[in-house]
């Protein structure tokens, strides 16, 4: 179990105007599964490579249990990185791939054989040891890459976009496998992804990085309920941003006076709420009358484009609630106070 502390980690590539990563600080509790989330080019892979020792940071520090590892060579860091495209060595059998890390540690061959067998059982591919990596499917390659990393029992496991190359039906299977192995072995795990869904389903906590800077570091649900700013909210699919002023639990803006739940920011800001938290019909407080601008049926849900005065509101609702709604109708809606959030 290893506590990972990333302190003001910065990377400026030679010749670049802006840093690829700007003073990232992150405390990752031991045994936790953390996602570094951000669009491609935001500096998340750079971070990963610096932790793995494959890239030299410009400044800052990475500490495992309060010991700086930056001077350690990659092979002595106790970190194993699993790349997005798996990188199974094509000239070796699957078993030799899985056993590679132990061989480098001069483990004797009988012991390697035994542990490779165990590991293949653990990733549920016990019969593939003699195959070549090229004979495996993408999902199988992913499992073997994971087995090859876990067999050396690293202090810290790094995963690069672990689910993004997999078909939809394999993603949940892989997610469960990663989570169960990670919990069982208690390995502090960091993975990077550009896909917020991947981050949400897999991680205990998510660090959102935009333009080389960390925006927010929290449990996944907090990003939906309490985003720190508009960019963060937008990254998680937020659409509704309404300017106004917050004072004493009341938000005054183009929608009128809306009551807020406790803990809202005071002063000028933007009101934001999730499309799926807009309720159709009358409720306790914050009742509004909206005009339907568009109805988009999405199968399991329906997206409504609404207009309150000049303000557009996006809503996602259960299709049954809005059967028969047409553009031009005027309908009652309400915004439950605990789902409203003000960002400065």
């Amino acid at each position: 179990m290893t506590h990972v502390s990333i302190q003001e980690l910065t990377k400026v590539y030679p010749g670049a105007d802006a840093p690829a990563l700007d003073r990232l600080s992150l405390e990752i509790a031991s045994g936790e599964l953390t996602a570094l989330l951000g669009p491609s080019g935001c500096g998340k892979t750079t971070t990963m490579k610096m932790i793995a020792g494959l890239l030299e940071p410009t400044s800052g520090d990475v500490r495992f249990d309060d010991r700086s590892i930056l001077r350690d060579k990659p092979e002595h860091r106790g970190v194993v990185m699993v790349f997005q495209n798996y990188l199974l060595f094509p000239y070796m059998s699957v078993a030799d791939n899985v056993g590679f890390g132990l061989k480098m540690r001069k483990t004797d061959s009988a012991e390697i054989k035994r542990r490779v067998g165990e590991m293949l059982d653990l990733v549920k591919l016990p019969d593939l040891g003699d195959r070549r990596p090229s004979a495996l499917s993408g999902g199988q390659q992913q499992r073997i890459a994971l087995a090859r990393a876990l067999i050396v029992q690293p202090e810290v496991l790094l995963l690069d976009e672990p689910l993004s190359n997999l078909d939809a039906h394999l993603r949940f299977e892989m997610r469960d496998l990663i989570r169960s192995l990670q919990q069982e072995m208690g390995i502090t795990t960091i993975f990077v992804t550009h896909d917020q869904e991947e981050a949400v389903v897999l991680a205990d906590r998510v660090a959102l990085i935009l333009d080389g800077q960390m925006k927010q570091y929290d449990r996944a649900d907090v990003f939906y309920k309490r985003p720190v700013d508009e960019a963060t909210a937008r990254f998680f699919g937020g659409h509704n941003f309404i300017p106004g002023k917050s004072a004493g639990g009341i938000f005054d803006g183009p929608l009128g006076r809306l009551s807020l739940a406790d803990g809202a920011v005071e002063g000028a800001g933007k009101l934001t709420f999730r499309p799926e938290n807009v309720r159709v019909g009358q409720g306790d407080g914050n009742n509004l009358s909206a005009k339907v601008a568009d109805v988009i049926y999405l199968g399991t849900q329906t997206r409504l484009k609404l207009r309150v005065g000049e303000t557009e509101i996006d809503a996602v609702v259960n299709p049954n609630e809005v059967e028969g709604f047409k553009p031009g109708d005027t309908v009652p809606i309400h915004l439950p106070p605990q789902t409203l959030w003000v960002i400065s």
Partner: protein
């Protein structure tokens, strides 16, 4: 798609095949006959008498053929090994990295294949005299690198341009030292290139005449030098026998590596640049 070729394509293929055989194999036949003939003059289709005298002489101690053979093998092997040692890192730099002046460096590496050897060697000769490398085997090996290195480097550049260095990062991350990473990960990946480039280097060194003659100063007698001596002295039978010995490695290497050279392997990709 075989079987869908038109008649014309088929005919064309036979004609080119025939031309190739005429060009490459036919000239060798008289050489073979000469090596076992005694008295073979103009109007006769075949020699009047057959004998193994030329072979007996060629393989005897007095002719110096065997000494020259071992020396040539030694020089060519040494030149090949040195070419690999220099060509692999050079090919990696050219194939994988972008840097300032890369085009100029590529051109300079290619230059020996374009500029005639004799033009190069006159300059090299002066330098080698100054360094005391003339008339020595070391000097000959070193000067053979001028024509062998371009082939080696370009083959390796072709290999490395299709090579993903992330495999090395992965190996390091799994606990391999840089040396073990090279041995277990890099080397197997680039082996086809080393084999093909090495064979080319060997054959190019094997067939050097001018460079050996000038730098070796006649003291380092390799097989082509010996062959030339007999050819100019009019001993067609002995020339034929030595000639047969001389072409042996080429034929062996070609048959052994036909698969690697067929163009389907990435190892010959680098030749696109020549």
């Amino acid at each position: 798609m075989i079987g869908h070729d038109g008649l014309w394509t088929k005919t064309f293929r036979y004609i080119t095949c025939l031309l190739l055989v005429t060009w490459l194999v036919l000239p060798l036949i008289p050489l073979g006959i000469w090596s076992v003939a005694r008295g073979w003059f103009f109007p006769d289709l075949l020699p009047r008498m057959w004998t193994l005298d030329a072979w007996r002489y060629a393989l005897s101690d007095t002719s110096g053929v065997l000494d020259a053979l071992w020396l040539t093998i030694g020089i060519s092997l040494a030149a090949t090994v040195l070419s690999i040692l220099v060509g692999v890192p050079a090919g990696r730099a050219l194939g994988m990295y972008k840097f300032k002046g890369k085009e100029v460096i590529e051109l300079m590496i290619l230059a020996p294949t374009i500029v005639p050897g004799i033009a190069v060697v006159l300059g090299v000769h002066t330098v080698f005299i100054y360094l005391g490398l003339t008339n020595t085997v070391h000097g000959v090996i070193l000067v053979h690198l001028i024509p062998t290195l371009p082939y080696m480097t370009l083959v390796m550049a072709g290999i490395f341009s299709n090579y993903d260095p992330a495999f090395e990062a992965q190996a390091r991350s799994l606990g391999a030292s840089p040396l073990k990473t090279f041995w277990y990960v890099t080397l197997p990946a680039i082996m086809p290139g080393i084999i093909v480039g090495g064979l080319f280097a060997f054959l190019v060194s094997w067939s050097q005449y001018i460079l050996t003659l000038l730098v070796g100063g006649g003291r380092v007698v390799t097989l082509p030098l010996l062959l030339f001596n007999f050819a100019t002295s009019g001993r067609n039978d002995i020339t034929g026998a030595i000639g047969m010995i001389y072409i042996l490695p080429g034929i062996l290497i070609l048959t052994l590596t036909a698969k690697q050279l067929s163009g389907r392997s990435g190892a010959v990709g680098g030749f696109g640049r020549i």
